[in-house]
């Protein structure tokens, strides 16, 4: 079969709702797009541990501390599920890490913002995980089997993340004036970056059409963003705090909230590496990798020693 026929057959399988598995024939671009997308997603989970990890030792109670520890541990686990899914496409874990550590691969820009106060931990769970969930629920139906299966596991675990964040903010909003102001301040700083998490507007997202055709994405960036706004505004009302957008209002006709223009220059600036924490995040990942080298070496040396000992035993 020539490439054109193979591509036609491949598209027919996708159109019929079949899942693609790692050893199946796939267009090179489908493979590359998936390696890029899944690894970016994995890197986001791993880098996403940093802003929150910073608060584990300063959580205000034991209850908050165990929850935050469990959440950060989940994120490490989610990164590992995703790296495994990417590896089924023929790229090695070392190469994936290398792309992250050299800055060649991207991760979600949201993690280049700092978590300045305890309320930020609430806002991250509520908004950042909330936005991620909307994207990830869509991805449970993505066409590549290993990615879809990783997403099912992740979505099951993720809903506690959002709830624990919302509970943090609820507690602050029911607290003193200063605590409530802290929650409002966190919302002010995290709102716009959260909306940017869904990526550029549809008309500026040239890959969307192909991704929708291959069922990598089932909804466009703007559709997902609208869904997020519609979900989130009533939740902010319950908290009694307001999003920093004077143009936000309910549109009866559309059945959706209208919202103001996003400052895309900020988005691209952070993507290009000029956000508040880009350098710090990358330095922390590199340090973790370099400082862990001796552990990996020791584990391998230990396994070799054990294997030799076993051989000797067999010989006797």
């Amino acid at each position: 079969m020539n490439t054109q026929d193979l591509e036609k057959k491949f598209q027919d399988r996708i159109d019929a709702g079949e899942k693609i598995e790692p050893k199946d024939w796939m267009p090179e671009k489908y493979r590359k797009t998936h390696i890029r997308q899944i690894s970016q997603h994995a890197h986001s989970e791993i880098v996403g541990m940093l802003p929150e990890g910073n608060w584990i030792s300063r959580a205000p109670s034991l209850r908050r501390k165990v929850a935050l520890l469990a959440k950060v541990q989940d994120e490490g686990g989610h990164g590992l599920y995703l790296y495994s899914a990417a590896e089924t496409l023929g790229i090695s874990r070392d190469e994936l890490f290398n792309q992250l550590h050299t800055g060649k691969a991207k991760y979600s820009s949201i993690f280049n913002y700092p978590a300045l106060t305890w309320a930020d931990i609430g806002a991250i769970g509520w908004l950042v995980d909330g936005a991620a969930i909307i994207n990830q629920v869509m991805l449970t139906r993505t066409s590549f089997g290993p990615y879809a299966r990783a997403m099912v596991r992740i979505c099951k675990e993720e809903s506690f993340h959002q709830r624990q964040g919302y509970e943090i903010l609820l507690t602050l909003c029911n607290g003193t004036e200063v605590q409530k102001a802290m929650a409002q301040d966190a919302l002010n700083r995290w709102w716009w970056p959260s909306l940017m998490m869904f990526g550029p507007r549809d008309e500026e997202s040239p890959n969307t059409a192909q991704s929708v055709k291959w069922k990598i994405k089932r909804k466009t960036n703007d559709e997902l963003r609208q869904q997020f706004v519609d979900n989130t505004i009533p939740q902010a009302e319950i908290l009694g705090i307001t999003v920093p957008d004077p143009d936000l209002k309910w549109n009866e006709e559309r059945g959706h909230y209208d919202f103001g223009a996003i400052d895309w220059s900020e988005f691209w600036n952070v993507v290009k590496g000029n956000g508040p924490c880009n350098k710090e995040r990358l330095a922390a990942r590199n340090a973790a990798w370099d400082n862990g080298a001796w552990v990996r070496e020791a584990a391998l040396a230990h396994s070799e020693k054990q294997a030799k000992r076993e051989e000797l035993k067999q010989a006797i």
């Binding site: 050893k23 024939w25 599920y81 495994s84 090695s92 675990e157 990996r296 230990h302």
Partner: protein, 95 residues
Amino acid sequence: MANQGLPIWEVFIRSKNGLEHRHVGSLHAADAEMALENARDVYTRREEGVSLWVVESKHITASNPEHQGELFEPAQDKVYRHPTFYKLPDELEHM
């Protein structure tokens, strides 16, 4: 880079006694013991299982999707392997 790469292991979990082990994913580990410990941390944080299997991926032989036809299509025309192939009277119950 110092790391020459830890081998890949496939992880299988028995969710409760009476059910089979099912494949859940993979991970990297230096040896079987480390693979079991990592599998516990990565795949059973919420009581997903009562038993774990790990096997180094290189030991698995997989069928080639291109041979799907010759492997599995012969079963398609053997409808007589299914109970519904046999025409029996309606009054015959529970068979």
